[in-house]
């Protein structure tokens, strides 16, 4: 089977599957290794990107999926009203952010950061399959550890967790209440009270 034929067959599989298709699963069809298959998928992806096609291939956690070019979203909305995913509440987004950046993390840790209970929010995020139990902590009662899922990556259109927007540094958070210089001094004051 020629390389071009396999690539065409991979296009068929991607289209039929709809959902993200793991390179390993696709590879089995052709007796190819996951690495080889991934390479073919990436080649395909590049072809679509460089061709400026209206459909693209995106990678999510080692799986590949057909999707549309986001620049054409306006035309889609002119044609039809596509089913949009329900937006998350501010609270749900906060919990999701804490889990995303600090995973694996327990409920108690999340609550101590937010200063408020969030068992119901966690439950709701679990139901939406954006987060999942990823293990048990070693502490008393072996608390559940939460982490994000592949659905979470899909939701944000991320290839993997390393593509999460970087978390702000403390200094970035100080504005607009203080001049940076002043804030630095004050911060030092907290870090090193003996300076005073």
């Amino acid at each position: 089977m020629k390389r071009a034929e396999i690539k065409a067959a991979l296009e068929t599989l991607l289209f039929v599957w709809g959902e993200p298709l793991a390179a390993g699963d696709a590879g089995q069809v052709f007796d190819l290794s996951e690495t080889e298959t991934r390479e073919l998928f990436l080649e395909l992806k590049k072809e679509y990107d460089e061709g400026g096609r209206g459909i693209r291939i995106r990678e999510i956690a080692g799986a590949f999926q057909y999707c549309t070019d986001s620049r054409n979203a306006e035309y889609v909305s002119r044609l039809c009203q596509p089913v949009k995913e329900q937006r998350l509440s501010q609270g749900a987004l906060e919990v999701l952010a804490i889990i995303a950046y600090r995973q694996p993390v327990t409920r108690v840790e999340i609550e101590s950061i937010r200063g408020i209970r969030c068992d119901r929010t966690i439950e709701s995020l679990s139901r939406k399959q954006l987060i999942a139990e990823v293990g048990r902590g070693s502490g008393i009662g072996r608390p559940i550890l939460y982490g994000t899922t592949r659905t979470f990556l899909e939701y944000l259109g991320l290839r993997n967790l390393s593509e999460l927007p970087p978390l702000a540094e403390t200094e970035d958070l100080l504005e607009p209440y203080a001049e940076v210089g002043e804030a630095e001094n004050l911060k030092n004051h907290f870090d090193n009270p003996s300076q005073e």
């Binding site: 952010a97 937010r114 200063g115 958070l173 607009p176 209440y177 009270p193």
Partner: protein, 261 residues
């Protein structure tokens, strides 16, 4: 109240604090605790007034604020020793606020990210039922596990055998017809008549009896002995013939193979 806020928009006490501090344009490292505490308590009052029972977490924070406010009134230098400077009572709260703010901001980033991702559409999976026929199984069979299974089985047999051997040495000692004939030849040589039952030292098992009987039959066939039985199921009497002495039953002989095979 001097300001109007929507009461149900705050995600928690920290969220409310962030709002109040930002609104007052205070420096996070120099929070005017008295001012903030008053505003915070006003907010709680308003909540109660509007019948929105504030969550317990809001009350806990109120207590914390009042505690910090009162500690701020104490002199910061407890002694003349500059090293003994007490910690700013606000620092722990500030750390918490900053940590919370970090994730509050991250939540906004995630929302933006999700919005962008929302511009990308995927398609549903095709109807695949036609392709999903009966599951095929490929049997995985390798020579090594097969041999291992057999070796494990043999080991088990060996262990069982060792146990058996320990408990029944005598019973397990099994003779062949040829060696039994050899024995019988020695027993019969020089005797005139021997009863079949005399051929056994102690109470024989079935194997011993059958073996001895087969041996006797073979010896009759070779004309090494004559046997007499007067009654059905009665005692058999064995009489050695002259030919017995000349018969070869030694181990090297191919006698039985030739004759019986």
């Amino acid at each position: 109240m001097a300001y109007k806020v929507k009461l149900d928009i705050f995600e928690g006490p920290l969220d409310l604090l962030v709002y109040l501090i930002e609104r007052a344009e205070m420096n996070i490292y120099d929070i005017q605790v008295a001012v903030i505490t008053d505003q915070y308590l006003e907010y709680l009052d308003e909540m109660c007034y509007q019948d929105l029972a504030p969550a317990a977490d809001f009350m806990v924070m109120a207590a914390t604020l009042i505690d910090i406010k009162s500690r701020m009134l104490l002199p910061r230098r407890a002694t003349d020793d500059p090293e003994a400077l007490t910690e700013d009572p606000r620092s722990e709260l500030v750390d918490k606020i900053l940590e919370y703010k970090k994730y509050k901001q991250a939540a906004e980033l995630l929302e933006q990210q999700a919005e962008t991702a929302g511009l990308v559409f995927t398609k549903a999976q095709e109807e695949l039922a036609d392709f999903e026929q009966e599951q095929e199984y490929l049997l995985r069979l390798k020579i090594d596990p097969l041999m291992m299974a057999f070796k494990a089985f043999l080991d088990r047999q060996r262990r069982r055998a060792e146990v058996q051997r320990r408990y029944s040495k005598m019973e397990d000692y099994r003779m062949t017809v040829r060696s039994r004939i050899h024995q019988l030849k020695n027993m019969l040589t020089g005797r005139r008549r021997v009863r079949f039952t005399e051929l056994f030292v102690s109470r024989p098992d079935r194997y011993q009896v059958v073996l001895t009987f087969l041996s006797v039959l073979e010896m009759i066939r070779r004309k090494g002995i004559k046997v007499r039985q007067d009654v059905n199921f009665g005692e058999m009497t064995l009489t050695p013939t002259k030919a017995l002495a000349g018969m070869q039953f030694d181990a090297e002989s191919e006698f039985f193979n030739d004759e019986a095979g």
